[in-house]
């Protein structure tokens, strides 16, 4: 049979394809629907947080940082509760990473704060002695891209029914509504309001000035995102 296949390239290719396509179907499909259900307490990202997530991706923070806490005592001691599938229901793309040059950030919002991030992103090795993380100084001047974040919100709301402007259940039985602007201007205003809260805890004068002008530096969006990781 194999000899025959080797003389009939078309059937050879079909045989190879069947052989390799098979495993994917078996491994990926069965759990697909179940794995995309959000865990109670998991809410979609706000516009500013999403813009911060884009900053995170743009700078490939995932090259050094994971967002996946494995169920080992040593990891839950260090980072908090192990990860559960439903917590990632709104993560497009997922950001688990595959290398921990720096620590896991899945729940960094629980144990680091705005002012610390501000200092740290500016000069990591000044805060954490001998840190090898690069300084991300340009984030203090580059502006966050709120428009693209809003476009993404609209897209996921439309195509994947991500529940913006709808109550999502929280752990304590209450509900939470993550607002999404009705217009572009609206979305920008919402993001700015959120940015003001973050910037209030920051010290950098340029950042404060920018916010006062109605501009949102990347660092503010990034910190909003980091703080949302819980």
């Amino acid at each position: 049979m194999f000899h025959w296949l080797e003389k009939h390239p078309f059937f050879f290719a079909v045989a190879v394809f069947v052989m390799i396509a098979f495993a994917g179907l078996v491994e990926i499909l069965p759990n697909f629907a179940q794995a995309s259900r959000p865990l109670i307490g998991t809410a979609p990202y706000s516009t500013l947080e999403l813009a911060g997530r884009h900053v995170y991706i743009k700078n490939s923070c995932n090259a050094c940082h994971s967002q996946l806490i494995r169920p080992f005592k040593s990891e839950t001691d260090r980072y908090g509760h192990y990860s559960r599938s439903g917590e990632y229901a709104y993560d497009r793309p997922f950001l688990w990473g595959s290398k921990r040059t720096g620590p896991d950030l899945m729940r960094v919002g629980n144990y680091r704060t705005t002012d610390w991030h501000e200092n740290h992103m500016k000069a990591p090795s000044k805060i954490v002695l001998d840190s090898i993380m690069p300084a991300f100084t340009w984030m203090f001047t580059n502006l966050a891209d709120i428009n693209t974040a809003y476009a993404e919100q609209l897209t996921v709301a439309q195509f994947f029914t991500v529940p913006y402007n709808q109550p999502v259940p929280m752990k304590d039985g209450s509900t939470k509504v993550v607002k999404m602007g009705a217009t572009l201007a609206d979305a920008n205003a919402l993001a700015l309001a959120e940015a003001k809260v973050v910037a209030a805890d920051m010290k950098d004068q340029n950042v404060k000035d920018a916010i006062a002008r109605g501009e949102i530096p990347e660092i503010v969006a990034l910190i909003a995102y980091l703080n949302s990781l819980k």
Binding site: N110, Y111, R112, W116, I127, L129
Partner: protein, 315 residues
Amino acid sequence: MNKLYLWGIIMGAVMLVATYFTLVISAGNSGKSISEILSGDIVNALAITGAVALILITIFVVIKYVRQMQTDTANGQLAHENWDGIGEYLNELPMGWSIIFLLTMVWGMWYFIIGYPVNAFSNIGEYNEDVVVHNAKFNEEYKSITGSRLVDMGESVFLAECKVCHGLKADGIDGKAANLNARIEARSVKYVVENGSNNHLLGFESPMPDRNGLFNNNTEALITDAEIDAVSAYVANGMTGAGSDVFAGACAVCHAEDGKGMESVAPNIAAFTPTLVTNVLNHGKKGAIGTMPKFKRLNDKQKEAVGAYITSLSK
């Protein structure tokens, strides 16, 4: 000796030394010996075994085949086809390879169909068991430690969890976080007196009023800017120097004459206490310097221990 074996031995030795090195380094200052590291954590033992097996098997197999290059000769029946001058022998499969392939296939099927379901292995299940064991051991060995052992334990928590903000020496890294070698600095006191404080320092919500609620009994008026500066310096200096009269007049009602606070009324601002630190860890704190996060994932004993450590720093 054949050069080949020599290279094999050198490579093997290099990798074994490297592996030994990893054990020495990771033992580092954890206070454990290499054998404790291996026997205390099955995962460590398996990883090292895997690493060693990897080197030895590769070296062994490669030498086996290279020996064949050196001593054997190519033979067998050639297939009648050839491609761009490349021929193919119709040799049989190497026996060892075929047997192991077959065995792994059978093992794979067995494991998947029987071994795995019957074992009912689950990541989370394993984790839960681990935690139970760890906690039982913790309770048994550390629940009752006190005194300098408690301070040592606290230092270990501090170095793992707190030094990224407060610095190795707990000096607050140039004002980026609180300097824990002294109870409190003047700018923090000033900030609190001007703005009040609502950080659950007593373990429950019990705000301190801002300057509009701070009445100086000596002057029978609200506290003034000059008085705030004076009292801030007084508190930051460890309750000495000028400003004691302001303190007595405006603060002592709640914080007591000596600043050591009163149960359920106001916290100790003259010295750290384990309770105060525990409250900070439970509720976090927002102040003049910045924001201190909550530390929910530490257990009570660890909080008490780090409290004892911090208390010991400023003595």
